[in-house]
Symmetry: C2
Subunit: 146 residues, 2 copies
Amino acid sequence: MTAPTTDDPRIDALMAEVRRAGGRVTAARRLIVGALLDAATHQTVDELAAIVRTAGPDVHLSTVYRTLDSLEAIGLVEHTHVGHGPALYHVGRMHPHLVCEKCGAVIDFEPAQLDTLREELRERFGFELHVGHFAMLGHCRDCASS
Amino acid sequence: MTAPTTDDPRIDALMAEVRRAGGRVTAARRLIVGALLDAATHQTVDELAAIVRTAGPDVHLSTVYRTLDSLEAIGLVEHTHVGHGPALYHVGRMHPHLVCEKCGAVIDFEPAQLDTLREELRERFGFELHVGHFAMLGHCRDCASS
DNA sequence: TTAAATGCAAAGAATTTGCATAACA
DNA sequence: TGTTATGCAAATTCTTTGCATTTAA
């Protein structure tokens, strides 16, 4: 387990946004967004907490939850529900996710890729699809072939 | 809270399938599938248990869970994950769901409606979409306009 | 009669909350 | 100095499990 980055300039950018929204910049928050930014893929709260604790052993799980909630309220972070298992968090804008039910691999893709479907659902059911907040489940290439 | 149907012929049909699969037909199981079949929409385990208990007060929540698991293993029932909140159960074949994040309304639709998307995801990512096991979230017509 | 299903209690996983203390602005 | 954020413990919600007992086949 590696400690989260602390010198990524994106951390400061995000913290500036937090401040602008009336929030406060704390050590725990810097670590948490550092861990979020490091990640190659989306992460659960437990995973984030484990990384954060390598640098700040006292950061409590509830602090991670609350920090992510705050960041999400400001629009800096999103979480996605994945079938069973815990929610996945990631920085940045809403986008659709494919999640493999076998190996857990997450594939991000562009919202535009769902425009046709979105239009179809809007016309047919009057339903406004929110692409970011749920994952589409199935099998990834590797798991589908095996 | 109304007691579940007990004279729906579909109950017997489903029980026949249970028997064929080596399972046993019990009073609890008849009540549970009765409740499932009555429903206008998909239901949570708690909702089902409440209905079932009007006729069989001792049917335990864990029995409802286990019965639904068994029925799902045989392929008679499916459950769908809906963002936060508990899973929704329904009889019958896998199909996609739209769930309103505001009012909880569930819209079922035909798997074929997603064929284009499916083909696209397969080509682009090698991803095999399983349409039944997750809900696509958004706002229904009423909630979107208000 | 015997394997499967049930009731009950308890545990488990994921998340939220209350409250006193600490620390940012 | 006055909130806001944190740590901690405890509560909540949804679901699963172990075990002794009951019951369908």
